[in-house]
Symmetry: C2
Subunit: 237 residues, 2 copies
DNA sequence: GGAAATTGGTGTACTTTTGACACGAACCCC
DNA sequence: GGGGTTCGTGTCAAAAGTACACCAATTTCC
């Protein structure tokens, strides 16, 4: 940082969390229905958004991301990774966002820069009830995402791209699966994230080389086909 | 973004650019000697820093990164990539940074969040003169970096880590080389960034598969050994 | 003018990884 | 008991990665 520069206007800073979930079939993203419970929530007056909020004066970025996600969704202690800052000067000033901004923000004319985080959640572990007052969060299939507030559509797209990069080299993909999973689920998830089909036998060959993926003494139950062996992921020390 | 949250304190936002250079031998980082020309510049009163400054009210992040780098170093139109935001609440409030902050910042008590960019420059293309008034920039070998202002040592470390990741999959490494380079230089640069030795013949085998790296009708001159074939990098469309 | 020092440049054999490909087994439902 | 569905398995060929040693071209120094 360096400064003959005294032009110092205040910014607001926010976090936006792109939370990916997997239901065994497709990738989903957690969206928030905005407004005040009971008054605006049931209307379509405000666009949906990714869970995010302003950073508090005294908190760090990761800390803020966890707090905000916890407040809006009750998700605690989950995997969260910063992936990009978004700061187009007019990113919150589109007409569509005006009413919400003036209703809920103290300084609606302030420029807002947001730090994007993405996270991965097993949908088995988190099923918000869409119509409950307590939770305003809903899963939305990635392919059916509506027009969102601000630049949140772009943020999701960027988060997805980052997820794709990270899946290959870091074992983050297991965050999206329940504790016990089948190799079929693991393969489908890879296929969905990478956007291409994989060969079953080759895929399994590779997985069996991973010592972190261990078979359990258990099989799938209640499925209408041959039950699959269950596996779990043991984090290396 | 979502908001029952009206606690809205202003942040200052800055950009910090970690500029990597390569001299054929080792990686270097561009540092700025801070203070006012003629008055403070020659003293050691202020810690050195990575080139950075506050973002202006109306400019985007990438735009700000380019402007700031251009202002402080005259480097224009170079490769710049956002890699991480740094926002520890106290990151600018260490005692060592106090005097500079109060001398040069209008609101020295404001929390500052910074967006880190890294860039790659061929040192052949940019040789600041350390003692000139016009340029306050100096190359500093990565291994000899002193204590810097704020959390800039951390920022450099994070930038380097990101560079290591990116080098493997994106052809960014050529930004660090002059237009014409030898395979020896290319290999040394890879070895330095990756921190391990590579086999010469295997390395060359791989490079020769890259259609972007094309041999020129030219050889090295004025070296005290067998002159090497020169190559250049042609960006694919 | 020749020797020493230095980096440039080249090929082969082995191992490992990747990629393509087909069929019987186990379970549910009807 | 038959039909539908997913599970689970092995082999072969091609590609990529890895290990390894010597002569060539230039400068400098004697």
């Amino acid at each position: 940082m360096q400064g003959a520069n005294n032009t110092s206007i205040p910014f607001d800073l926010s976090i936006d969390n792109v939370v990916f979930g997997f239901d065994g079939e497709q990738l989903q993203v957690l969206l928030i229905r905005r407004g005040l419970p009971g008054r605006d929530m049931e209307t379509d007056r405000f666009l949906m958004a990714v869970p995010g909020d302003l950073i508090l004066p005294e908190e760090g970025l990761d800390e803020a991301a966890h707090r905000i996600l916890s407040n809006l969704t009750s998700l605690n202690g989950i995997f969260l990774k910063q992936f990009c800052a978004f700061g187009a000067p007019d990113r919150v000033f589109a007409e569509k966002d005006r009413e919400w901004l003036t209703s809920f923000r103290r300084y609606p004319d302030r420029r807002v820069v947001t730090i994007g985080y993405y996270s991965l959640v097993s949908m088995d572990d988190y099923r918000p009830k869409p119509s409950s007052f307590a939770s305003r969060a809903e899963w939305c299939p990635l392919k059916e995402i509506p027009n969102l507030a601000f630049d949140h559509n772009d943020i999701i797209a960027a988060g997805l791209e980052k997820l794709r990069e990270d899946v290959v080299h870091h074992n983050i993909i297991f965050e999206l699966l329940p504790e016990k999973f089948t190799l079929g689920q693991l393969q489908r998830l890879h296929e969905i994230i990478l956007g291409k089909e994989l060969d079953k036998r080759n895929f399994r060959k590779n997985v069996k080389r991973m010592t972190e993926v261990v078979p359990l003494d258990e099989k799938q139950e209640g499925v209408l086909h041959k039950p699959a062996q269950l596996y779990t992921y043991r984090k290396p020390d």
